[in-house]
């Protein structure tokens, strides 16, 4: 039957997720809601970034990601992450980005869940489509020193038609074998946006390198180990009864 979700590895990229197209009524409700409701947090998402990420438990699996970014203050960004930039894009996770000064204050066990951004930015992999490079330069220098924590909650790249299983911790591209992004993926992205990652890399050579990158980040580089999330049954905490 066409609609079986079946096991984890469903085939085909069509109909992700399964389901009939929206009804007229639903569309009208959406429009109505949009007019009447105040959607302030959504309006704060005003930057689109296209970059790449790798599954920490299987770094051969690499994805093109679309971050819709809100800057909360100088040191912190929060991103809703999608698998494409069109209107049918799937919300596949959340990434948080912090400045190096904030990152240094985190306990080491926490730092190990984060990844650095220096290489991703300097190599031209991180792109703000349609925004002139000149306008971005000061921002890019800051971002090159930042660290990210990215949970992927829907593995559309492996064909999951629905979000299955626990979240995956994602890693950033790095300048070593395991961390390099497949050139085919990069080419595809470059063609779509009419950009050249190589050219951006050249133009970004003048961006300052961060003075150091905390070795707790990109944990896999030093330890050849990664973190995977497992869902385990656990005793529920007792509740204080209502008076």
């Amino acid at each position: 039957m066409e609609e079986t979700i079946g096991g984890v590895f469903a085939s085909g990229r069509e109909k992700i997720p399964p389901g009939k197209p929206m009804s007229m009524e639903q569309k009208m409700l959406d429009k109505g809601a949009q007019m009447m409701q105040s959607l302030k947090p959504v309006k704060q998402m005003n930057q689109h970034v296209c970059t790449f990420a790798l599954y920490s438990q299987d770094m051969a699996r690499q994805i093109e990601t679309h971050h819709y970014v809100t800057r909360l203050n100088q040191d912190f960004l929060q991103c809703a992450v999608y698998d494409s930039d069109d209107s049918t894009a799937h919300l596949i996770g959340v990434e948080y980005i912090v400045s190096d000064s904030i990152f240094e204050k985190l306990p080491p066990e926490e730092q190990r869940l984060w990844h650095s951004h220096a290489y991703e930015i300097k190599s031209g992999l991180w792109v703000n489509p349609r925004v002139p490079e000149m306008a971005l330069k000061p921002e890019l220098e800051n971002l090159a020193k930042s660290y990210g924590k990215f949970w992927c909650t829907w593995q559309t790249d492996r064909g999951d038609r629905l979000p299955l299983g626990p979240p995956s911790l994602m890693m950033s591209p790095q300048a070593v074998n395991l961390g390099m992004v497949d050139p085919v993926l990069v080419l595809q992205r470059d063609e779509k946006y009419n950009v050249s990652t190589e050219a951006l890399k050249t133009s970004r050579m003048e961006l300052a390198e961060p003075e150091w990158i905390n070795p707790q980040a990109d944990y896999w580089r030093q330890h050849y180990k990664c973190f995977a999330v497992d869902v385990v049954p656990t005793e529920m905490k007792k509740i204080t009864p209502f008076p």
């Binding site: 979700i5 997720p17 389901g19 009939k20 197209p21 929206m22 009804s23 639903q26 959406d30 109505g32 809601a33 409701q37 105040s38 959607l39 959504v42 704060q44 998402m45 930057q47 689109h48 819709y68 909360l72 203050n73 100088q74 912190f76 929060q78 991103c79 930039d85 209107s87 049918t88 799937h90 919300l91 996770g93 959340v94 948080y96 912090v98 904030i102 985190l106 306990p107 869940l113 703000n128 489509p129 349609r130 925004v131 306008a135 971005l136 000061p138 921002e139 924590k149 949970w151 909650t153 629905l162 299955l164 299983g165 626990p166 979240p167 973190f227 999330v229 869902v231 529920m236 905490k237």
Partner: protein, 202 residues
């Protein structure tokens, strides 16, 4: 190691702001505004519906939060929402929830179903509201939503005072009719006052 439950360690010191950090520079605001004008933000433009409801941590149902969903309907059977801890412009993105029809839910393997929660009680008891939308508009939609199931990962435990997103994601569950699942009256009251709602029964 990192668990949804235990806090990873001491908080970064400072003025207690969540998250910590200095206010945006003018330069950064300009980049933001510029980007917004030049870029196409299609997935975001499809986030059209705001819902305010409640959820609990599955490993500690004493901890309940008010959750603000900004929802995209992808088709008749599927919604995806970015979840925030408030509906103002400084709202923190605290997680993601997916909502599917009963039809899709029934087709999931049972191991997967265990990660999902039902919505019937939440909707029928009026805990789920769409602020500023007239009753009439909500009614038919709510009838459909009452039959759905949700999967909600919380990636930032602001309610326990985390100034930054720490640890592993936490699986959330929905309010239910029995003791342990009941939404805390004081939380509900606070929300209702803010939006001038009286608890609707449908």
């Amino acid at each position: 190691m990192a668990s949804s439950d235990k806090s990873a360690g001491p908080m970064p010191p400072g003025d207690g702001s969540v998250p910590p950090g200095k206010a945006m520079t003018v330069g950064q605001s300009i980049v933001d505004k510029g980007a917004q004008m030049m870029q196409s933000l299609k997935p975001i433009q499809r986030m059209k519906l705001h819902a305010c409801t409640f959820a609990s941590y599955s490993h500690d149902m004493n901890r309940q939060i008010e959750a603000h969903h900004f929802i995209t309907r992808l088709n008749q059977d599927f919604l995806q929402s970015a979840v925030y801890d408030s509906d103002d412009s400084s709202g923190r993105l605290i997680g993601v929830e997916y909502i599917i029809s009963d039809r899709l839910f029934e087709a999931l393997p049972s191991e997967e179903q265990k990660l999902w929660h039902s919505h019937a009680h939440e909707i029928q008891s009026g805990l789920w509201v769409n602020p500023r939308m007239p009753e009439m508009m909500q009614k038919s939609e709510l009838g459909e939503l009452a039959k759905t199931y949700g999967k909600f990962w919380c990636t930032w435990q602001v309610d326990r005072g985390d100034r930054l997103p720490l640890g592993a994601p936490a699986l959330m569950v929905s309010p239910q009719a029995e003791k342990m699942g009941k939404a805390k009256p004081e939380l509900v009251h606070k929300r209702d006052q803010k939006y001038k709602i009286s608890l609707l029964m449908i």
